[in-house]
């Protein structure tokens, strides 16, 4: 045991890797490469050729505006819970699911205030996925971080792990959900980048559209991997930052003018 080194034997790794590749190819026909042919009218599975991201220009986020929050609510049917009888309105409001929060920051030294919408940052290395005991919290191939409610047990570890406080737990029964956005008591949820829209090929989110319509245009949504996309061009041209970049999560949501 005295001659063990810190580094693993790289030659052995290379050999195993090559063997695995060869085995994969030779065994593949009829065994591994079983794929389900997409039926008519079906959208294909998402790939990692795309990574969805968002750039928010906080200088354009208008005080008192709630267009993005309202649009999110409408798109995802967030207010479909009834307050239980005898519940305290304070608790009820504190526990309301929120996918986007409008956050106001104030620099104490200069008094400068900044307002920005804060939602799931769709990290490349999401802490919520790391801590999930059931595998319900996951990252899709296209970079969207989601909760599989079929496996979520409502333990709320992910809520604790998220540095952005982006997730909500549903405490009460939900009725009248939207067909595209199933939601119910006992599960954790957060911004999905309007995944139902992305799967339809719209390539935009409800908040982005609402912000544009309200005349602010503070939100740009697009593919971070496509150098020709609007978001990539802007990220290349103007300074932007990730919130808590020190955590090295490589967030999909970036902010400028913070």
């Amino acid at each position: 045991m005295s001659d063990t080194t810190e580094q693993p034997d790289m030659d052995r790794r290379k050999f195993l890797g090559t063997t695995a590749v060869v085995a994969g190819v030779t065994l593949a026909p009829g065994v591994v490469l079983h794929s389900i042919a997409a039926a008519e009218g079906e959208s294909g599975p998402v790939t990692d050729e795309v990574r969805w991201g968002m750039l928010i220009d906080t200088s354009k986020c208008a005080d008192g505006c709630s267009a993005c929050v309202d649009a999110c609510d409408k798109e995802n049917g967030i207010s479909v819970h009834a307050m239980p009888e005898g519940a305290s309105p304070e608790t009820w409001n504190a526990q309301r699911p929120q996918w986007i929060r409008a956050v106001k920051l104030r620099d104490r030294q200069t008094g400068k205030t900044t307002r920005l919408p804060l939602m799931c940052q769709h990290c490349e290395f999401p802490p919520c996925v790391d801590v999930c005991p059931t595998g319900a919290s996951f990252k899709r191939a296209d970079g969207v971080v989601l909760v599989d409610r079929h496996t979520c047990i409502g333990c709320r570890y992910c809520m604790m792990a998220c540095p952005y406080k982006a997730r909500s737990f549903i405490h009460e029964n939900a009725y009248n959900q939207l067909a595209a956005v199933p939601r119910g008591k006992g599960c954790v949820e957060s911004c999905t980048f309007c995944v139902q829209r992305l799967d339809r090929g719209e390539g935009t989110t409800a908040c982005t559209e609402a912000c544009k319509q309200a005349g602010h245009g503070a939100i740009v949504f697009g593919d971070l991997k496509d150098p020709e996309s609007e978001i990539s061009k802007q990220l290349k041209s103007y300074p932007s930052r990730q919130i808590r970049a020190d955590l090295e999560l490589n967030t999909g949501v970036r902010y400028s003018n913070v």
């Binding site: 389900i36 599975p45 106001k104 939207l178 067909a179």
Partner: protein, 193 residues
């Protein structure tokens, strides 16, 4: 099955057939050939009897499905395998983003939910398409705690959300101007030296 009403017996006949088949299969594993042939004959007779029994449709009257010849797959296939189809579909949709498949749950609801006096009836309500059969088979369906129970086009039929379901707007201004302690964790740059 004396404890069943005729209606129930008719509509759930297929479950009985399924059970018979399983029992027969198990029995056939250990007995000799002649008995096995008799068993198969018996099973055939039973099956013929039972299929006659479920010739009357279990589909809810007044639903869109009642006007159609078959579901997205042949009826006997759907009866036996719908749960498998739904389960595979849900994983493909949630994890891979595959949409628009014929085996989606919203498709079941769109087609099988009844409409009574211009109001869509929740599909898991007492006596409705999903609940009726699952209730008999003692299989709890949890789909509709989260999934929409009425067709998506029926939003206009049921009107807008009741006032109790429309909460105050969810704009939260945090933190209070003089308190950036919560923010320190979130954004180090907002700290005061």
């Amino acid at each position: 099955m004396n404890y069943l009403s005729d209606e129930q017996r008719r509509q759930t006949g297929w479950i009985g057939v399924q059970k018979c088949e399983v029992v027969l299969k198990r029995a056939l594993g250990s007995i000799n050939r002649s008995v096995r042939v008799m068993g198969i004959l018996a099973a055939g007779t039973l099956f013929a009897f039972a299929s006659g029994a479920f010739a009357d449709s279990a589909v809810t009257q007044g639903s869109r499905a009642a006007g159609l010849d078959a579901c997205v797959a042949p009826t006997d296939d759907m009866r036996r395998n719908h749960m498998e189809y739904l389960k595979h579909q849900r994983d493909r949709t949630v994890h891979q983003g595959v949409r628009g498949s014929k085996f989606g749950l919203s498709g079941c609801v769109d087609c099988h939910a009844a409409v009574e006096s211009a109001r869509a009836v929740p599909i898991n309500a007492e006596g409705q398409f999903c609940q009726k059969c699952h209730g008999f088979a003692s299989v709890s369906i949890d789909c509709f705690q989260c999934h929409r129970r009425i067709p998506s086009q029926a939003a206009s039929l049921t009107g807008s959300l009741p006032a109790a379901h429309q909460g105050p707007r969810m704009v939260m201004e945090v933190p209070a101007p003089e308190d950036v302690s919560g923010l320190r964790r979130l954004m180090p740059m907002a700290q005061e030296d």
